[in-house]
Symmetry: C2
């Protein structure tokens, strides 16, 4: 990977081009060679031979979004530009047909991007990889002082280090309006996150509107008219996420954290009449009757609360299937009683020890404990998240392969729509790069420069990302 | 003051009425007696005999603003409401004529508010007190479940504990667009702050556009086309603040923190040709040639940089005149060389010791060191600011009288328009109440309830104030 750093330095030394976030696995740029990107000429188009063609909602939609991001409203092409050296259209070629499905843990996300004045080509095995490549493409454009956009001659060969790169939002401690969730999904896509972990209900409120058990939100939400997610809202979130290559994992945390499921603590916090329902009862009962009950996320709960939903995106999308995610704090002995397909989410304690213990027991592991972004402190605390190395724990090579990724968590005790975005971005970007980029990408000064630049990109795209430190962005005076 | 607490408890026990922030000095409410506030009937009007009459921009404007805050756009009067028990107009009676001036450190801000179905009357010695009373009035209205607004029978007798209740914004480390400053002034008025301390320039950038020395911002701002305050911007800030009873103290920090005044460090950080100007040179030279130079805020600098401005609001408004504000860290001996009219701003160190030392030397003091709100931590850190007692230092009663107030500070290393509002509000409210309300108002549980309620009021008024803890506001799902 030495070539990566070399090519990058060459570019920075020339003072040209845009910073990329997260850093691709392999990047080669020629600072001397560039083409001009003109909004009058440039289009995204499907390459001849692509297995996916116009009519694919995922890519058609992405072409439209990224064109608007490249040429923001109010953008004015400098007059008198000549027609020489114009960048051609970006040809997108996808090997595998299929546009209507959901991304899975196993979906490849690699892509190859070649940019030159003669040919601009993005190739990917499937639409999800193409989405990642489009994001990178959009970050490569840069503008000179008179407002002309350029692309340097570039080759990017890229793929994620970990397949599960998640972000958790908590909509129980504070309700987050739909637009806040959709905006977060946009920003996630810009950061190449691919899992939205929706901690949808918890003790304080139950905002999920179930057609089967309407009382749960009628009596358990903050306000059942305004502070709820209707079935249509949930469908919209799932589809909005799908169009950006993001899986939604809605979490119905049980058997703990269910106070909002009903007043009173009898019957595990639920109303008796609801609790009598055998299916729901199952959810609220620990997997075994021993002392080994652990807070467990049942993916299948949604199919009980809302059978009309399309669950393929999060229930059947795993091979081998993931029956459940479980938060750690499971005593070692209990592992014997947990379904081996369970993914263990490491959320507290010394993460090196926990990761070692969980993978030694043969479970797949997700890392979150060092990435609780709701914890804030004065100064550049994104660096703490950035410095984390998920595989820096004692264990065999085989154990390391069981680490499928991690998640940045934004718990909601002190967070609602007023402060969610600036608390989350660009800090969560530190986690995004750690989970996407090569293990060797660790230079903090370089990361500071690129992340500062990327946060300006986020601002320009309408995401109120807070500053890393003293300075300014072109657009922050608006 | 026992009566205050008693009356308040009576009201809270009845579950009626609105919480007030900051808590008035004296409040009596009858939870059993109320009138209905109707947008069809209710108006603010000048009382007969008031020395201030229609045409006074300060109060005319306030009547309009507060009417819109009482009855937000989209508000619908419940149909079928009968005309009985309607609240009458609020009569406003101001004793002292005058509407075109600026508030000063000595301006009284007391007011008396009487609300009953027979008569609603606000009396104040001047327009500034009337503004404070209008804010309190607007916080007294509450809404039942069908959307009818009410006012309980109420008497408020109120005045500030300290005359200088300030908030500092830093527009050098990050530029804050004009609208962010104006929004802050709105929120300040809701909190009864009365001083906007504008830390306008510093090392990182010089956004103040001077007609006399245009190079200062042309070469010292982040972007001289977009990241500057024009003379008109500054005038607008001063007038917008005046209309809300807020003084503007623009700070041109010298002799330190002047890197942005010119490239290079020769000539105390300024360009030579500018530095040759004798008036500016004076500003950059310590008051004496001894080792006793201290970072000193020269109020008069604005009159050199921009002689066309109306400076009466901040230069000549003090009796005795304040020639300068000085940040502490002045060695004790140096006090002998400092003009005795200087106000010393206590910004670091053990604040009890500093306040004691400064007032013992006979200087008036402003407290800020425990109120650096740019310092953030996880959890309810507003409580730390709230617990501060400015007079809890060793010193005589006479020394205590020298404490003219304090300022909440929001330094800009990590703050710009993306995160300013949720970081500032409602946390700065803790400082506002400490500086306005009686010394005995210290109950943290009561403050939590009122401040949570008040932050919902701020949200409804369009201020993105962040939550204190888990919960919701009626409007936060929008």
């Amino acid at each position: 990977m030495a070539g990566t750093a070399g090519a990058l330095l060459l570019l920075l030394a020339a003072g040209l081009g845009a910073a990329l976030w997260p850093q691709p696995q392999w990047l080669l740029q020629d600072p001397q060679s560039r083409c001009r990107l003109s909004s009058r000429q440039f289009r995204f188009s499907y390459a001849n031979g692509s297995a996916v063609a116009p009519g694919c909602e995922v890519l058609d939609g992405a072409f439209q979004r990224y064109w608007q991001l490249l040429f923001p409203p109010g953008h004015k092409e400098p007059s008198g530009s000549n027609v020489e050296n114009l960048c051609p259209n970006l040809l997108v070629s996808v090997a595998q047909a299929g546009c209507s499905g959901y991304p899975t843990l196993e979906s490849p996300e690699n892509y190859k991007l070649s940019i030159s004045v003669d040919l601009m080509l993005l190739t990917a095995p499937n639409i999800w990889g193409a989405l990642r490549g489009l994001e990178t493409f959009s970050q490569l454009s840069w503008k000179d002082e008179v407002g002309t956009f350029y692309l340097n001659k570039t080759v990017v060969i890229d793929f994620p280090r970990f397949p599960h790169r998640g972000l958790l939002l908590d909509t129980s401690r504070h309700f987050l309006p739909l637009r806040a969730i959709l905006e977060t999904l946009d920003a996630m896509a810009y950061n190449k996150f691919n899992v939205f972990h929706w901690h949808i209900v918890d003790d304080p409120s139950f905002p999920f509107e179930s057609l089967v058990f309407p009382d749960l939100s009628l009596k358990g939400s903050y306000n059942s008219a305004t502070h709820v997610y209707t079935p249509n809202d949930v469908k919209m979130v799932i589809e909005y996420a799908r169009l950006r290559g993001i899986r939604v994992i809605p979490e119905f945390d049980t058997p703990g954290h269910t106070l909002s499921w009903g007043p009173g603590k009898n019957c595990l916090g639920m109303r008796k009449q609801v609790c009598k329902d055998s299916k729901l009862m199952t959810l609220l009962t620990p997997p075994s009757s021993s002392a080994c009950s652990s807070p467990t996320v049942f993916l299948s709960v949604l199919s009980i609360l809302e059978p009309t939903h399309n669950h393929t995106s999060f229930v059947n999308a795993h091979k081998p299937p993931v029956d459940a995610f479980s938060w750690t704090s499971v005593p070692v002995l209990c592992f014997f009683q947990v379904n081996p397909n369970t993914v263990i989410h490491v959320w507290k304690g010394n993460f090196q020890q926990e990761m070692s213990r969980v993978t030694k027991a043969g479970f797949r592991a997700l890392l979150s404990s060092p990435w609780y972004l709701n914890f804030i402190s004065y100064g550049q605390d994104w660096l703490e998240a950035y410095r984390v190395e998920p595989l820096a724990f004692e264990g065999s090579a085989e154990q390391k392969t069981l680490v499928i990724g991690g998640e940045a968590c934004m718990w909601g005790e002190y967070v609602d729509a007023t402060n969610l975005t600036p608390r989350l971005w660009p800090r969560a970007g530190a986690v995004a790069e750690r989970l996407w980029s090569n293990q060797t990408v660790r230079n903090q000064e370089d990361a500071y420069e690129r992340l500062s630049d990327f946060r300006c990109t986020l601002l320009r795209r309408g995401i109120r990302a807070e500053p890393l430190y003293t300075g300014y962005c072109e657009f922050d005076a608006l």
